[in-house]
Structures are given as structure tokens and as C-alpha cells.
Symmetry: C2
Subunit: 442 residues, 2 copies
């Protein structure tokens, strides 16, 4: 394919994309295929001779689409949103064409790990400064990190990767599933008494299960006093902080050592795009710096230059900032704020539908675009309801567990979700609930 053909095919692809997105709600949101369905649809080996572009395009519907979960369907309410916008797509096209190896971040999971590694390296340095003879392996074997029992599973994984102890801090429904200062303080004291070295706390603003906010105004001063690195994971909720009315949720940020949120979740920047701030960049550089000759250049020591690959583990990173730039400019702050507010409003609308129905209950405060709800009754009846909902393939939701209860998560995700989709989703849910309750009386 030469540039001339690309001009033609690229324009067809633009139309194909616009068609796909304009008609996405006519597709079943969740695929009805078994793992491995693809195997029989594609050849065992790559083709010997080139195929025609027409054949490839024909196979998009035949081969690919049947297996796709349509994350941008207005019937998608699972996990959290993954962003999608026309300006971001345009920027991504250009970014692909420039195809330079740029600088930016991976995902929130990576940010959590990067912060943990930097914290580990800082803790080891601090202890060696006062006790230079102590073996490093002895120090790391005593390190202990903390996060909420509501934190994303990638926090626990970060602990496994870094080879350090990671303790979960219990939360309570009565505290809205937020980590309390007193609980952290007690755990730190117990661990120090047992000879351990507390060094890292991952706070979450907007947890995955229920969008809970850890009390960082209480937790931050404790961490600072104990020289514990406080990382804030605001992967989802972070986007909402562009609205003044949600900004108070960020109070306490001044105590953080690092902060991360994902514009690719809720700020209209296509996946993937995750941003991280760090209080003291030398802490990051210290944990990752490598200096081979083939990566040396004139600006390395100038101070104006920050080589992000010194501060994460991937050597090569895509030019992701381009799509943020397109999105910020094409929507403007107001457009982005409107977008966030509309999602929150739609969540509130869903919440009031749930509250108006005596058979259901709300399981956690609705702060942003996530509604946690359930049928009053057993976990079994709720599991059956969710299964029924997802098998219908009209809307898609995932569950979570809160205080031992099986809870349904309704996250407003798609850019195109409107009030009518919310009402239709609720009609479907109540209809299936009716069926389930007749079959499984509590």
C-alpha cells in the first residue's frame, strides 16, 4: 500500500469508524462467543502473498466484531469508562504517523509500581545513611507497604513485583469504605514495634468497587511524619477534579509524594494515557537511572530536561501527549467539565430510579459516575440477576463485593450515554429482577 492508496483507504476507514460509532448501540454490547472462537476463523499461518485490502476489511465484521466488547456503547456500564473522542482519534492517527518514540506514562498500575519502587529505593537510602553497614537485603526484608482493602488489585501486585510486604488496611461500611487515619496509625505502630519498616502507603481517591475516597487530610500528615511515601491513585476520579465542585475531594493532596490519574478513563483521551506527578523527581530518577552510551545526549544534565525513561521501566514510550493536547484544545475546559457533570448527573438519575424502587437498595454513596446497588436479599439472587442482565447482552455491568455483599456496579461510561439509555437500562434491570425474584424468592 503506497501513500496514494493510503489516502483512499484512510478516508474509507474514517467513514467506517464514524459509521461504527454512530451505530454502536445497535450492536450487542457484550460478545456472544466462546474463548477460542477466533481460531477457526483465521488461518494457522500468516499469508504467503499479500491479500487485498477489501478482504481484510470484510473480515472486520466477520472475524473481529463478534468478539468485541463495545466499551463505547451507551449500554456499557462495566468497570469504569475508557475514553473515546474524535479529536483524540485524530491525534492518535497523527501520532502513529509521526511514530516517534516519545515520552509519557503507561497506566495507573504502572504508576503505583513506579511510586513503590521509588519509595523502596528512598527508604533503603535513608536507612543506609544512618546505618551504612546494614545489608540492603536485611532492610528490604523488613519493609512494609499499606493500601486499603478497597484498593485496586494492581497495588497488591506491585508489592509482589517489588518483593515487599503489602498489608491491606480494613475499611468499614460505616466509614464509607474509606481508610481512616486512626487505623493506619495503629497498624504503623504495631508494625514498628515488631521491627518492620513502614515505607509506602497507596491511598485511593475513588476506589474501583464503590468510588470511595480515603481520608488523605488525616492520612497525609501521618505519612509525612513517619517518612512514609504517600502515593495517591485517583485513576478514575482524578478527571473530575477539573470541576471546582469536586475539587474538595482532592483536599490533602499537599501531603502526597506522588499522584496519578488516567485521562484515558474519564477525560476523553483515548486509551492509553495515564499521568503521574511526583513531589521530588530525583526520587524517581534514583530508582531507575541507566546510562548507556547509545542513549546519551547533550541535554541530559541541563536540568531543563527530564528523561521520563529514567523513571519507569519501559525504555520506549508512545507520543501520547499529542492526544491530550488535541482533546484539551477541542473541548476546552468547559466542554470537559460539562462532560464530567453530565455523567455525574446521569448517575444521580440512575440512583433516584433505584431509590424509588423498594425492592432495591443503594450500597454506597454516589459521589461521581458510579452507582453501587443491589436487590434487598441474598447474594445468590443478586448474582443471578447480574448473570441474567449480562446474558441479555443489551447492557453490561460488573459486580463488586462490599462488606461481604454481592453488589452490582452501574458505571456511566460511554461518551454518548443519554438519559434515555439510563431509563432503558433501568427498565431492563427491573424486568429481569421481577423474573429472578419469582424464581428465587428470598
Amino acid at each position: 500500500m503506497d501513500a496514494a492508496e493510503f489516502r483512499r483507504r484512510g478516508k474509507e476507514m474514517v467513514d467506517l469508524i464514524a459509521d461504527y460509532l454512530e451505530n454502536i448501540e445497535q450492536r450487542p454490547v457484550y460478545p456472544d462467543v466462546e474463548p477460542g472462537y477466533l481460531r477457526s476463523l483465521i488461518p494457522e499461518e500468516a499469508p504467503e502473498e499479500p491479500e487485498t485490502y477489501e478482504d481484510v476489511v470484510k473480515d472486520i465484521e466477520r472475524v473481529i466484531m463478534p468478539g468485541v466488547t463495545h466499551w463505547h456503547s451507551p449500554y456499557f456500564y462495566a468497570y469504569f469508562p475508557t475514553a473515546n473522542s474524535f479529536p483524540a482519534m485524530l491525534a492518535d492517527m497523527l501520532s502513529g504517523a509521526i511514530g516517534c518514540i516519545g515520552f509519557s506514562w503507561g497506566t495507573a498500575s504502572e504508576a503505583t509500581l513506579v511510586a513503590l519502587l521509588a519509595a523502596r529505593s528512598r527508604a533503603v537510602r535513608m536507612i543506609l545513611a544512618s546505618d551504612p553497614q546494614r545489608p540492603e537485603t536485611d532492610i528490604t526484608s523488613k519493609l512494609v507497604a499499606y493500601s486499603s482493602d478497597q484498593a485496586h488489585c494492581s497495588v497488591e501486585r506491585a508489592g509482589m513485583i517489588a518483593g515487599v510486604r503489602m498489608k491491606k488496611i480494613p475499611t468499614e461500611q460505616s466509614d464509607k469504605y474509606a481508610v481512616q487515619g486512626e487505623t493506619l496509625r495503629r497498624m504503623i505502630q504495631e508494625d514498628k514495634a515488631a521491627g518492620l519498616i513502614p515505607f509506602y502507603f497507596c491511598a485511593t481517591l475513588g476506589t474501583t468497587p464503590s468510588c470511595a475516597f480515603d481520608h488523605i487530610t488525616e492520612l497525609g500528615p501521618i505519612c509525612n511524619a513517619e517518612k512514609i511515601w504517600m502515593h495517591i491513585d485517583a485513576a478514575y476520579a482524578g478527571s473530575s477534579f477539573i470541576c471546582p465542585e469536586f475539587r474538595p475531594l482532592l483536599n490533602g493532596i499537599e501531603f502526597a509524594d506522588s499522584f496519578n490519574f488516567n485521562p484515558h478513563k474519564w477525560l476523553l483521551v483515548n486509551f492509553d494515557c495515564s499521568t503521574m506527578w511526583v513531589r521530588k523527581r530525583s526520587d524517581l530518577i534514583g530508582a531507575f537511572k541507566m546510562d548507556p552510551l547509545y542513549l546519551k545526549h547533550d541535554h541530559q544534565e541541563s536540568g531543563r530536561y527530564f528523561d521520563i525513561t529514567f523513571s519507569c521501566y519501559s525504555q520506549s514510550i508512545r507520543f501520547r501527549s499529542l492526544k491530550m493536547w488535541f482533546v484539551f484544545r477541542m473541548y476546552g475546559l468547559k466542554g470537559l467539565q460539562d462532560y464530567i457533570r453530565k455523567h455525574v448527573e446521569l448517575a444521580k438519575e440512575f440512583e433516584s430510579l433505584v431509590r424509588a424502587d423498594q425492592r432495591f437498595e443503594i450500597s454506597a454513596d454516589v459521589v461521581l459516575g458510579l452507582v453501587c446497588f443491589r436487590l434487598k436479599g441474598s447474594n445468590e439472587v443478586n448474582e443471578t440477576l447480574l448473570k441474567r442482565i449480562n446474558n441479555g447482552r443489551k447492557i453490561h455491568l460488573v459486580p463488586c463485593q462490599l462488606s461481604g455483599q454481592f453488589v452490582l456496579r452501574f458505571a456511566v461510561c460511554a461518551r454518548t450515554t443519554e438519559s434515555r439509555h439510563i431509563r432503558e437500562a433501568w427498565r431492563l434491570i427491573t424486568q429481569l429482577a421481577e423474573e429472578v425474584m419469582q424464581e428465587l424468592p428470598n
Copy 2:
């Protein structure tokens, strides 16, 4: 921007991209700006109101392009190639539109780390099986990993992240900078005698400095016998193995526990796209598995399903396989083989130009698309030559160090590089060499 405007703007963007790529060689390959140049060109804050798309597009040339290194210019000979092809771009457009959170791999650096973590976890399990009382921290503090002194810097970084000892195996010019079986065997014996536990060896096929190939037919059996995980990093060279004539370079692969190469380097699949094979997938899953309720689904235990996020540290991954699929189909194996062969031929052409000039020498065997060369003489004269070459901004090269010598790396990178570009590059290099040698007689 609605779908209707996206149809219009998308088509303009397709033309902009085609124009950019068709005329890329008219641009200076390397930017002539200082770090921070962008700060004065962009506002301090995101715009309050949306801007027009025209304004954004105008700024591509004004703001972005002056800072871009044009990796796809036929005058780019630095690092290794980063792939770029029209089918891959089309697929990436579609992938952005579908925007689902898919499954695939990050980069070779990540593969190295993932393999190291899996190896660490396997080693700990094996030792605990025979000595269940031994503290895990005692085991990890004794672990030792190996790689060539020619291995990519990310291998060393992987050791830092995993918190394990990483030893560099010395290589010699006389052995073509390849790790020899005998050297590894001796280091293992010494380390075991000192109470250490060898557990991981990262072999490289096609090193970054000189495209050297470690002798895996010798090294593999040693690793297998010692229960050392052998990971093979073939980030660049891996693409060439689609040609039968380069397949012998892969001999010994049967001893590997894991293998990685980057289609985004040399297989026409746009960045990023890196693939990894592992002998026993349970070794990976064991190192990373997490099971929160919101990620549970019906197929998890079916055996037909492999959740790749159980085996790497990012939770969310882009739908990268789509662009491999487009590229394999649109080029066919033959087209891809032709592409690899052409680059190797161009490298051989450059090599013969160098060899024909008595003032220069070739510093390492030319096996694939990389030519390592230098002026006979001091490191200083070669450093000056390289600086002069890159300051000219017509072509771009990076250096490496081989046996203490400062060496210039000429890597055939761009999809559009032709013989005339190679000859023009050589003319430029010899002309600058002339100048440098007059100023700095050796």
C-alpha cells in the same frame, strides 16, 4: 466534534499524514530546538473554551514539528528502526475507535522484567519445595541473574526493580561480542561456591551496540541443567527470523524458557507492539495472578482462556494484535521477507562503502541491518565526527562503545530508505570526516 465533522477532519488528517510521509525527507531529521522550547509556544493552562480545529492543525507545524525527531525519515540511522506502515496505521485508527481494553504486550523491556519476575517466583517455589522452613527473603537475597555486558540497559534495570543481584558477563571482540558457554559456566560455578543461587540468564540475539548473537546452543543446555531460566531478548533481530536464511541465528531456541521480539522494530507494525512466548504459561500466571471480583468471568478456569493481565503488571492493555493482523495480511510473508532483505542489503551496501575507504574500519560483523564503523584513530576524532554529523541534521546516528572504542552505529531504519539515501549519507559522512581529520590530525 461530532461524527459528521470527524468524517471531514479525519479525511483531512489522512491527507496530512500522507503528505507528511511523502515529503518527510525534506525535513531536518533531527530537531534544532532546546529542551523547553515548547513552553513559550503553548499557554500555561488548557483553554477555557474550545478552540477551532483549524487552529489546532495550524499549530502542528508551528508547535509540534520543530521538536520532532523524524524516525521515519530515510536519513534516520539511529538506534534501531521503529516500524511504520500504512496498513498498521489503518488498523491503529480502527483500534482507537473500538477502544476496547484488550490484551497484548508492552515492550521488550517489560518482557525482560516479566520473565525475570516469573523466574524469581519459580526459583523461590523450587527451593521452598525442598526446604519449606527457609525464609523467602533469605532465598531472594541469594539469587543471582546474568546477562551479557552487551545486553540492553533495561536488563540491568529489571534486576533493580526485582531487587535481585544482576551480573554482567564479559564479552570479547575476538568472540564477536557474544557470550560464550564457558564464561557462563565458570561464573555459575563460582557463584554457587559462594552460596549464591543462579536463577536467570537473559541471552540477547542481536545486541543493541553491535547486533551480536549470544551462543544459545551452548548456553541453553547449561541453563537447562542448572534450572536457570533462559530468556531470549531478540527485540530487533527477531523480525529477521521470518527469512529462512536468517533462521539459523535462532538455533538453540528449544532451550529457552521465554522469548521476546518487537514487531514494532522491524516488522512494519507501528509502535508499540512487542510479543513474548513462554514455555510454561503457569510460570507466568503464578507470578502475577490477582482475582478481584470485578475481574472475574465465566471463562477464567476453562483452560482455553489465557488472561494476559495475569502475566504482566499493567492491568489494561491496548488492542495491538489488530495492527499485526492488518500488516501480515496486507504484506504477506513474502512482502515482509522482501522488506527485511532489502534492509540487510542496504546495510551491506553501506558496509562495502566503508570498507572501500582506507580511513575507516568496520568494528563488528554486519549480520543484519546494523553497521558499526569508525575512523581509524582516536575516540576523540570519532566523537567529533559524530557530533558534526548530527549537528548537520541531515542524517541521524547514535554511537556505541565496543572494547573501549567509540563507534558509530549506522542502522538502516526507515521503510523508505533506498540506495540513493545510503550513498548520500556516505558522501556526507566522508565529507565531514575530511573536515574533522584536517582539524584534528590523529
